[in-house]
Subunit: 353 residues, 2 copies
């Protein structure tokens, strides 16, 4: 099979972790007789530096033509203290989501047995955690009208959702639940927000089409609590953009495996795969960043974008082996144990596939 | 001193826990030579049942005339599955906040040494946690224009803030930080929201008036993570209404002492004191609910509303004693140990003041 993949390394440690994912993907392709054509493109701070905008049209065209996008991370400290700067890397991210129609962000949270003690939570609270958030990614308060009035003294952000937007996200949620334990939780704030009431009534109306799925409706504040108390009580959760931003990040730290969590953003055109961690500027160029979340994002890509399940499983299994054998970067190393560099971890994975 | 207190017991376990707080407050008043005049009033589901609205005008007048309001909890299961019912207990809460001008919700999260092992988090992560959220309570997306368009197919909620609203909340934050460790964290989403950019620029402009306070600015998703990872790294946090709703609930479960957390809502007129827990319908009438959060809310009231610090300390110290000696309701009891009823705990507190 020929796989056309757009490669958006981005900023900070992005290029380093992407490099290892490419090595592993190429090795898998060789093993399973596929040909991967990687097309690199600029996004984020490096795109601003090079061409003045964070998501250039050329990058967009490359993404649209590709079968999948593998993405590293974006962000640079020079933009951190000025969220109102006219051009910022994050704008590239939002524009990319919107223009690629990436309306569903798929964020799994699961535990690796060998990492469970890294969690801030007690072992008995997280054992067995295996949940997936579907976060709506192209609507809500992120993309509604925003601005100032009264000479700058009043600011507003409008949160808007249409029934169709809720339906397409919820449909993915029901479908995903059907492939798992058939439990779906709709997270909203329907006791206060009209958009949440639209979410709830839309999902309620879809229940009859998926009679096997048990749906629960929980308020976002209650979920923020229960995620810390009993994360393993959840399976598939669907929610709107802003709630998803907050809750998926909260969920990511409970498993103790945050540095390993992959994600996918799927929608109308090409799907995008990326680690959930950021550009980690302090580690840039040091060859110490953990490449496993990006390698596991590539596994997600093989499975979801190309339906190559055996290939995905092969990647996951070698990652598990590396964890068990302690072939890990310093963030995961047991005190006193030898640590490996970013590229050494990648080399080991390739050699042990 | 004569203390005029409006007593809003509310629904569910509200009346039971309020009853114990009244007993303890009366005993303290007697001991310190104060006279308390309690004026009961209806709010929540019980007000809907009695007079058709969740926050009757009469209740509002009683609150406005009082020196402080002591509040139990509201909410009833019959409203739970229909967030679009025309009259709901929560509307009473929002109306009460708005009409009483309760613009700042003060939500401390701290640990009780004897309860630390109840936390889902590991001991070393939470030891020393002592933070306070100031949540803006009368603005933002809760109170902006909301509704439907396109024949009900599109829903919207408008989030609006004025500079003056941010200033009055932030002022309380800076002042509170000055009485504590002089660290203030402004939580926003300034990389996406215009209202957050207004928050950030307003707080930045106030920094010069409090040169001793160190201010940090963090995105809401990052705070949702760090609260679980290093809760003891925070001191005073200020944030807007919806972020505060989510984060204060998240924070409440990390200490393991959720059933004990008091809160205050302060603002333009009378201040209100209430436990952070809800109306816990399943326990209603069983005399098993934990009254300590309400008793500690009364302590907060003595200290903040009446500046009666010795009285507040006396309450806190007897609560600590009850915890140490295991005179607690079933939710806090060590496995196998004797448990006490709601009223027995109250009686014990009164007897040991
Ligand atoms: C950088 C920011 C705009 C972005 C978001 O809020 O969506 C990030 O937090 C994320 O979750 O991918
Ligand atoms: C009941 C609800 C309207 C309320 C809120 O969202 O403010 C509650 O969650 C709270 O935090 O007091």
């Amino acid at each position: 099979m020929k796989l056309n993949i757009a490669l958006l390394a981005g900023d900070g440690i992005g290029p380093e972790v992407i490099n290892e994912a490419v090595k592993v993907s190429d090795a898998i392709a060789k093993k399973f007789n596929h040909e991967i054509v990687w097309t690199p493109a600029l996004t984020g701070a490096c795109a601003i530096d090079a061409v003045g905008v964070p998501y250039p049209d050329e990058t967009h065209e490359i993404c649209m033509k590709a079968d999948a996008v593998l993405f590293g991370a974006i962000g640079h400290p020079k933009y951190d203290n000025d969220p109102s700067a006219p051009v910022r890397p994050e704008q590239g991210l939002l524009l990319m989501r919107k223009k690629l129609g990436l309306f569903a962000n798929v964020r799994p949270t699961f535990t690796f047995p060998s990492l469970i003690d890294n969690s801030p939570l007690k072992r008995e609270r997280i054992e067995g955690t295996d949940l997936v958030f579907l976060r709506e990614l192209t609507g809500g308060i992120y993309f509604g009208e925003k601005g100032r009035k009264d000479g700058g003294e009043t600011a507003f952000d409008n949160c808007v959702y249409t029934r169709a937007e809720v339906q397409r996200l919820a449909k993915k949620g029901f479908e995903l639940a059907m492939t798992r334990s058939k439990k779906l939780c709709c997270v909203d704030k329907a006791n206060v927000l009209e958009t949440s009431r639209l979410w709830r009534e839309t999902v309620q109306a879809m229940e009859k089409d998926y009679p096997e799925v048990t749906v629960s409706y929980e308020f976002v504040d209650a979920v923020a609590m229960r995620l810390v108390q009993w994360p393993n009580s959840y399976d598939v959760l669907i929610t709107e953009n802003l709630f998803g931003d907050i809750l998926t990040d909260e969920a990511s730290v409970i498993s103790g495996s945050m540095g390993l969590m992959p994600s996918a953003s799927v929608g109308e055109h090409t799907s995008l795969y990326e680690p959930i961690h950021g550009s980690y500027p302090q580690a840039t160029g040091l060859n110490i960043a953990n490449p496993l979340a990006t390698v596991l994002s590539a596994a997600m890509m093989f499975e979801d974008a190309f339906k190559l399940t055996a290939e995905a499983e092969a990647i996951r299994s070698v990652v598990n082996k590396s964890l068990e054998q302690g072939i890990v970067t310093e963030d995961l190393a047991v005190k006193g144990a030898k640590t490996y560099s970013t590229s050494e971890v990648g080399d080991w994975l390739v050699a042990n596939l």
